[in-house]
Symmetry: C2
Subunit: 197 residues, 2 copies
């Protein structure tokens, strides 16, 4: 196959991943089907299975790609992402409802019996907590209020992100301002240093 | 049917609800089946459907009961539950893994297309935020740090609870101490008044 064919293969693969992403977001893993994904990209099921041999592998690739495009990879690269940038990414997420929904549904679903994404999420949270703690340590260090450790602050910050996403998805009144609320949480973390010189 | 028959009916209903609760927790709504629930209580599917005419109604009743037994009903009764008691309930939840898992999976799943629990969770979060805000207003009022409003603090507190549950469920190292972390968050909320007389 020539370079042109390789390019078309890449495009098609990308197209399948995008459709899979949407379908997982709309239905969760268990109700998503290769048939639905195939239909959206105008392929047969066999056509999709040529690129991704199983729904499980397709999910793994969707999750990997989602993180690659988002901030966790950055966080994992040794604190390249400061806290204000993290807040900007929370703001960016408000324009990415499908992505947020997909993540919320799949991460929660992954705690059920034998779910194929369980390992991915366990590892992802452990890694995110560590990277976040390092960043907080660097920016706020010994100025955290109420005797909070950087590890505790990191765990709470991730919890706030996830919990806000759920409330945002479940609010039809447009009353949950995720970026403002996340910034308010960061202000709480920073309030310990307000009295220091 | 005599009083004895009524009692047996009640017991059987209760037994089905417990089994349904477990099965929803293990599998989520969509993968849970009346057949599995029936098997666990030694009834036929028809037997279960005699008590609960559909899986959807069974879910609704499970969720209603879950809340009735837990603290949201208390919160809804006009701030009868103070913040320290809320922290004790977070501690209690660490002994109720199935319940926490059920809630995490179902609330996240409820954001997907046409999920039967969507309305329940939307309404539940709106009500919880309001009750929590009233309690925070009463206990901390104008002493919240970093310019936080009681509504913001309530939304963050609920987010922390949900987000910690997800991390706790996804941690196999026993490293997420939910009650300590929730109490640390309450200490953050209270740290604004530390310098005041």
């Amino acid at each position: 196959m020539g370079r042109e064919g390789g390019r078309r293969q890449e495009d098609r693969r990308e197209e399948i991943l995008r459709a899979a992403f949407d379908v997982f977001a709309e239905r969760g893993y268990h109700r998503a089907s290769i048939a639905t994904i195939a239909e959206r990209v105008g392929l047969s099921q066999q056509g999709v299975l040529h690129y991704f041999p199983s729904k499980r592998l397709l999910l793994a690739e969707v999750l990997r790609l989602r993180d690659q495009r988002n901030f966790i990879e950055l966080l994992g690269q040794g604190g390249a992402l400061d806290l204000d940038t993290t807040a900007n990414l929370v703001e960016y997420n408000t324009t990415q409802r499908g992505l947020v929904q997909s993540f919320t549904v799949l991460s929660a679903e992954s705690v059920t019996e034998g779910h194929p994404a369980r390992g991915f999420f366990e590892e992802r949270y452990a890694r995110s907590r560590q990277a976040f703690a390092e960043q907080i340590e660097e920016e706020l260090g010994d100025r955290l209020p109420a005797g909070l450790t950087a590890e505790q602050a990191a765990t709470l910050a991730l919890a706030v992100m996830d919990g806000l996403q759920l409330q945002w998805l479940l609010d039809s009144t447009d009353g949950i301002d995720m970026p403002a609320l996340f910034r308010a949480f960061l202000a709480l973390l920073r309030s310990g240093g307000a009295e220091s010189p």
